[in-house]
């Protein structure tokens, strides 16, 4: 009898582990679908879903769009912020990031090794990746610098400048090719990195005790001073961005640094395991959305 129970238990456990081995993204996919469901419900009719907007005034509700669908979240807060959207469309008539795309193309063609490392420039939707050899997450910024170092060159700054220009070119080429965000979780180690990234995203930190989710999941669509908060869904699709505040182009790492400062904590280093794993989680949440960068933001 005991032998039978042990045999059955082992068979179940082995079956489960084999099934698990084939689908390392099971949990991530559950998380992503729940996030999409949450965002679509929240913005189906904000005025009717007041529980999601506890501090919103009647005026605030007037400026929020109804019936926002999955694909529109690639635009960030401009998916639902009517006023922001009209300003965004106006500025985009003469996009200030076009020079950066040209500069990026030149860097792609003239920088030693870059073309060999990235033969297809339409790769913006595939990063961050889990590098099985290194056993860690590699963001596009880190991959570019690894390539430079492998070719005997000095790495670039991970937040702006040449690296942002090259990423603008990659994003532009990906958008032109109609590429979508396609982050993979190929192993158990990658799934663990995803889980750590998720924990980093949802943990409250800093003297203000805010998590990223406070503003960009539960807070998405709510107003902080004049700004309507953007959603986690679609956050990574449009980087690098030309921010009016920066008066220039910046990478996702630069934006995360700024967010961490606002939370009241000493920001993690761009390229660190902590930040890369969080970006891995964030990018996975945008899986299936079109790559929409480079873009502009306030």
């Amino acid at each position: 009898m005991i032998g039978k129970i042990v045999k059955t238990s082992v068979a179940v456990l082995m079956g489960a582990s084999v099934a698990y081995a084939g689908t390392f993204n099971t949990q991530a996919e559950k998380d992503r679908q729940a996030l999409v469901k949450y965002m679509e419900k929240k913005f189906s009719d904000p005025a009717k879903n007041k529980q999601f907007f506890p501090y919103a005034s009647a005026e605030d509700f007037k400026s929020l769009r109804k019936g926002v669908k999955f694909e529109e979240f690639r635009l960030g807060s401009y998916a639902y912020d009517k006023q922001g959207r009209s300003q965004y469309e106006e500025i985009n008539e003469m996009p200030p990031y076009e020079d950066a795309i040209d500069a990026g193309e030149e860097l792609y063609n003239k920088t030693k090794g870059i073309k060999q490392c990235f033969p297809d420039p339409a790769i913006a939707g595939e990063y961050p990746k889990f590098d099985e050899k290194k056993g860690q997450v590699v963001t596009l910024s880190v991959a570019i610098n690894d390539c430079l170092k492998a070719n005997g060159q000095k790495p670039w700054k991970l937040t702006k400048g040449k690296l942002a220009d090259l990423e603008a070119y990659f994003a532009h080429m990906s958008k032109e090719a109609g590429k979508k965000v396609n982050i993979t979780i190929p192993s158990k180690a990658a799934a663990a990195a995803y889980e750590r990234g998720k924990k980093n995203y949802y943990s409250q930190r800093g003297y203000l005790k805010l998590s990223c989710a406070t503003c960009h999941v539960q807070g998405a669509g709510n107003r902080v001073r004049r700004e309507v908060l953007s959603p986690l869904l679609g956050h990574t699709t449009h980087f690098p961005v030309y921010r009016l505040k920066w008066q220039g182009l910046g990478t996702l790492e630069r934006r995360i640094k700024g967010c961490e400062k606002n939370q009241g904590e000493n920001p993690h280093k761009p390229g660190s395991q902590w930040m890369s794993e969080m970006l891995y989680f964030m990018a996975y949440m945008s899986n299936g959305l079109p790559v929409d960068g480079p873009d502009i933001r306030r």
Binding site: A34, L35, K42, F52, A192, Y202, R205, E265, N266, S272
Partner: protein, 148 residues
């Protein structure tokens, strides 16, 4: 039977290791800080400046190690602690903090008592948050602890 026993042991060990990996952030010092009453241990009037500074000096290095050090208006907690130490040594009623923000050298002055309270609470709270996050972060995840 031996093979089955081995398999069960391996699977059990694997599960235990996964749980250990998930809890790796909670270090003994985090556990220790989690038990503290911040209002009591950082009370300058009741404990004196030196004792409050000692609490901040004890816990902030762990916060740096875990990547959770607080920073307010461009000033890291370690800058508060450094300035505070100098002010206590020189018996000054005010602490002048020198720090860099956006590449520029800046300075700010605080009452010594206030700087001590802040350095201490920042050091202890940063570690307490690590412990709190361990169970609380699920509550914000749609489809997990966050119901909508």
């Amino acid at each position: 039977m031996k093979t089955i026993n081995r398999l069960v042991t391996i699977l059990g060990l694997g599960a235990a290791l996964s749980i250990a990996a998930a809890a790796e952030e909670v270090t003994p010092m985090v556990e220790e800080a989690a038990k503290l009453d911040v209002k009591k241990v950082c009370d300058v009037k009741a404990n004196g400046l030196e004792k409050v500074l000692a609490v901040a000096e004890k816990y902030n290095p762990e916060a740096i190690k875990l990547g959770v050090e607080f920073k307010r208006l461009g000033i890291r907690n370690s800058v508060y602690i450094k300035g505070l130490k100098e002010a206590i040594k020189a018996k000054k009623p005010e602490v002048t903090l020198h720090y860099k923000s956006k590449g520029k050298e800046k300075k700010k002055t605080f009452k010594t008592d206030y700087a001590a309270w802040r350095a201490c609470t920042f050091a202890v709270r940063s570690l307490q948050q690590v412990k709190e996050a361990q169970k609380d972060y699920h509550l914000a995840i749609p489809g997990d602890g966050y119901k909508f």
